[in-house]
């Protein structure tokens, strides 16, 4: 898929002029949620999924010799469900929701969902290294290299990548209902998303200071670093759920859009004091707040359009995808403690 295809098709943006913080707050309260949303509780859906994903991950990484490396891998992937700083597990949620939308069983998507988290964690561990971001903490606790040493952090990342593939292969129900050929496409998709034209490209561009440049470069970094991963999540769910080519393409576009949207809203919230400031809040400096909010609106509309395609055929099963768009923008609830209470 051409890198810029997402943005070329966008409608002319409405440029909001008001203060961002007020705007996001106003939107959250006045958002005209689709009528059917009332019957769907995203928080409950998400919470139950987090519990499934956490136990899948916990079982996938038993403590065994050599203990140091397995301990470091668990540390990187399992930040402590229900505690402060617990992971939201958005990529797995997207993967499972796409599979369930098409009528596929949750069990078909859960191993890939867990693999997405392993791959994501692996790249974060390397991203935090002293030679990169030199981040001493991640999600409110020491980053993996701070806790285990730089050499062990490099190796933990190196071991999490293959573990993701091992886990998908040994736990996905295959050849029934997932044929081997489909499993191969899922493996290729996972590898592509974190490779040199996917997330690694985003990290490279970020490193090269592309966020200090114009809108196209900024959006490219967001697309590569976050859009690709979300596209991969949705695409894997689509394949595992037995999607046809058109459905897969639509879910890919949906996933990519929502990945960028989610991150951009994070940056807007950071810049307006609603969240922790990320290093790359400079995205906002490049785009300007008004333009950033304009893009948020565009992406939101586009994601809903993609989700709408499925409404006629799948009815209420589209609601998780639909609600996810609203959540990405409004962050109407907190997930912290969610897994602990489930």
């Amino acid at each position: 898929m051409a890198l810029s295809s997402l943005f070329i098709t966008l409608p002319v943006p409405k440029v909001p002029s008001s203060n961002s913080r007020r705007l996001l707050t106003a939107r959250a309260s006045s958002a005209a949620a689709p009528a059917a949303s009332a019957s769907f509780d995203l928080r409950r859906y998400w919470t139950s999924l987090i519990a499934d994903v956490e136990s899948e991950l916990d079982a996938a990484m038993p403590m065994q010799p050599p203990e140091s490396i397995h301990s470091a891998m668990r540390y990187a992937v399992l930040p402590g469900a229900g505690k402060e700083g617990a992971a939201k597990r958005a990529p797995p949620v997207l993967c499972v929701a796409a599979c369930e939308l098409l009528g596929g069983p949750r069990a078909a998507a859960l191993p890939a969902a867990a693999a997405l988290e392993m791959l994501h964690a692996a790249s974060l561990v390397h991203d935090d290294l002293p030679c990169f971001d030199a981040a001493p903490t991640r999600r409110g606790r020491p980053s993996t290299h701070a806790a285990y040493g730089t050499d062990m952090a490099v190796l933990a990342g190196d071991a999490l990548f293959p573990l993701a593939y091992t886990h998908v292969i040994s736990h996905t129900p295959s050849p029934d209902p997932v044929p081997h050929a489909v499993l191969l496409r899922v493996l290729a998709e996972l590898a592509r998303a974190v490779g040199s034209t996917g997330m690694a490209a985003g990290q490279f561009l970020d490193l090269a200071g592309a966020t200090a440049l114009g809108e196209a470069e900024v959006m490219q970094v967001l697309t590569k670093k976050f859009g690709e991963m979300a596209e991969c999540s949705a695409a894997c769910g689509a394949m595992l759920g037995g999607a046809g080519p058109d459905e897969e393409a639509a879910l890919r576009r949906y996933g990519r859009t929502i990945g960028v949207l989610y991150e951009l809203v994070d940056d807007v919230r950071s810049a307006s004091g609603n969240g922790k400031m990320r290093r790359n809040a400079s995205v906002l400096r490049s785009l300007g707040m008004d333009r950033a909010l304009g893009i948020v609106e565009e992406l939101k509309a586009q994601a809903k359009t993609e989700a709408d395609r499925f409404g006629d055929k799948y009815g209420d099963r589209v609601l998780p995808l639909y609600s996810f768009v609203d959540y990405a923008v409004e962050r109407g609830f907190e997930l912290q403690g969610a897994a602990a209470t489930s």
Partner: protein, 371 residues
Amino acid sequence: MAMAFHFHPLAATRVHLSPLPFAAAAAAGAPSPSSSSVAIAAPHHHHGRRRFSAVVATAAASAAATTEFDFKAYMGERAVAVNRALDAAIPAGEPPAALHDAMRYALLAGGKRVRPALCLAACAVVGGPEAWAMPAAAAVEMVHTMSLVHDDLPCMDDDDLRRGKPTCHVVYGEPIAVLAGDALLSLSFHHMASVGSYPPDVDPEKHPARVVRAIGELARCIGSEGLVAGQVVDLEMTGTSEPVPLERLEYIHLHKTAALLEASVVIGAIIGGGTDEQIERLRKYARSIGLLFQVVDDILDVTKSSEELGKTAGKDLASDKTTYPKLLGLEKSREFAEKLLSDAIEQLDCFDKEKAAPLLHLANYIAHRQN
């Protein structure tokens, strides 16, 4: 696939941490037609039946049996084909250019391509066309390269030179070297999983299941139960003044070196359509030559000059590193190497002589290299 995970030979040795790797594998339930002979593989049980030179003579004799085989030409041709496949596998013209440059720098730096050759030869020995295994052969070289790039980093071994050239992080900087390694690892799996990497004549019924199984083998052999496990235990041993016990040394070598050789032959044999028995024999072959590779390395370090080696000789002694000659003495180390070579060659007995010639010569090459 279930079979592959059931045998789990690395796990078997890990659990037992035995200096008798194959006896441990046999105890774990692997079919081991040769277990009676391999059970005496450990140096301290050595029977001294044949001297190292005798093995050389045996090897020469069996080489003569396959008269027409030209090992040097074989390796040269495979290296050319593998290099071509590697060159074509890196996304061309796609940004970011500097990241792809760094990947190419590390991957296309030359080298003997022993792992890909093992993979192709294993596919051929079970009767598969070599072309079927080329994506897997390229994948193991990508993984090998990636492990070298990360190994050379300042936070790991901190090496400035590899094969006479500045290491990847010296040329491109540390962050890009980390990313290039990660990207090569991803590329290896992407390349192996993609339908487009394979020739059109693969069996459409059997091929997908074989590739899934092969990817599972590769991932397991290089992860926290394979290659990485060896690196971790090696790291934990460095800096302690205590000599490393023999079983630890063997654990490190079986994981750090043998695991990727094991992956190379096993995935070649799987994709070539080998039977489970053939696959397990080749697995044992690879584990023997993997250990052999390190024993020979240790012997060369104390017996050859820097000029002969093309690198600093006596480095192991100077750095207090535990080696086989240090633990067993030179003579017993040679006897151990001899035993490992004959074990490896024995695994090839059940294969067609002509088709097994490359694997036989690869084992001899590893045993008798002079640098």
